[in-house]
Symmetry: C2
Subunit: 211 residues, 2 copies
DNA sequence: CACCGGTAAGTAATTAGTTACTTACCAATA
DNA sequence: TATTGGTAAGTAACTAATTACTTACCGGTG
């Protein structure tokens, strides 16, 4: 009759709970600016008391670091997988671009989180981790561009570093515009329209091309 | 002998003070995330009491709206001026790109402010104003691309909307990377390296081009 | 010119509400 | 029973906004 615990207190292991917390932050980041996400809000999303969070992460910053770690690992895995599946370096770039867009559509909170943290001027561990990820990403792009050059697929005189910047920049631009519109649904189409322009910008023109 | 007022209380007109407040927010935005800027901090930057701010703006949000207004006006003025000075549509795009980069270098707080506000999911008047600015910007780009197409400067089959997206996206990407590096100094060089790739992507290849 | 009164820019102190984080205690499970 | 994931009730610091009051400026009038 006097049952108080209607829901029988879901008690997860530390590891599981930490994963859930990271998930929750990513989910919330899709809708709010990560800077405005409070510990109370995270707890509410998990039907947990606010104080419980600090059993698993001593400081809020540590939660943020775990989120960055998660994003870095999964995005790089996505990118590397897409790169391996392609037949040629330029096809790999194409594949990576679309895979990245797919990743963003699937995890809308991720780019929001990244932007917000990179924007911070102080060099937090979180920002460091994300910077490291972007450096690795750029390294992959540069490798592909170099291979493309060696195979004669690249236009002569192409600035490979600039090409990598343009590649990353156009994805960031796409994300920004999807934030503007409020829907990430149209992103894939937009990406498919932008890619040909980029590819035309770096690909060596075939001598005997039909109009 | 017993002079208390060492600094003789600088009393500005409302208009002047409002301009100073907007300036201060822009300056602070260059170093901190705009979301973390407090009214106390703005007041401190102006050697003013915190409460005084509310003599000029009834709510904090109104300060933010004034900042958005300022950014929108000055950026669009910069863009339109650059467009008018150019001899051809494609030269105009080139000029706008570099002018925009120059604007960002001169006002490092502006892109930070824009990103932060666009990131917010709620459709605030601030976000509306910035969206309006970007729409106008895109409209200018589309106009130039159409003229370029009519004059035969554009590659056949170029998706003009996608080209405009790529244009805006690559600027956003440049800004993001300058945030990463922490210095906006290298931006101009990066821009000059990226532009040729973009231009190659949309420009009609001249039939008799020397290697 | 000097005085006076209204207006508006300023201050200092305080408010209610949040925030990240802590503490004391509890209960499940290994 | 010792450990650990959990709660509930705190706390100190900070936030935007408001308050009561002060001070500078400016345009008539005596």
């Amino acid at each position: 009759m006097s049952d108080i615990a209607v829901t029988p207190m879901l008690r997860l292991s530390g590891e599981e709970r930490r994963a859930e917390i990271v998930d929750a932050v990513l989910r919330l980041s899709a809708e709010r600016s990560p800077g405005l996400i409070t510990t109370a809000e995270i707890a509410r999303a998990l039907s947990l008391s606010q104080g419980a969070l600090f059993k698993h992460f001593p400081r809020k910053e540590d939660i943020w670091l775990a989120v960055a770690e998660r994003i870095a690992e999964s995005l790089l895995a996505t990118v590397e997988q897409a790169a391996q599946q392609a037949a040629s370096p330029l096809a790999a770039l194409h594949g990576i671009f679309m895979a990245h867009v797919g990743f963003v559509i699937e995890h809308p909170g991720a780019p929001r989180f990244i932007f917000h943290e990179l924007q911070r001027s102080v060099d937090s561990p979180v920002k460091s981790r994300l910077r490291e990820m972007l450096a690795r990403y750029r390294q992959i792009l540069m490798g592909l561009l170099e291979t493309a050059e060696q195979q004669g697929e690249l236009a002569e005189g192409t600035n490979k570093s600039a090409a990598a910047s343009l590649f990353l920049g156009s994805i960031q631009g796409l994300v920004m515009q999807s934030m503007l519109a409020g829907s990430s649904a149209a992103m894939r189409q937009q990406a498919e329209a932008i890619l040909p322009i980029f590819e035309r910008g770096i690909r060596r023109e075939k001598s005997g091309e039909a109009a």
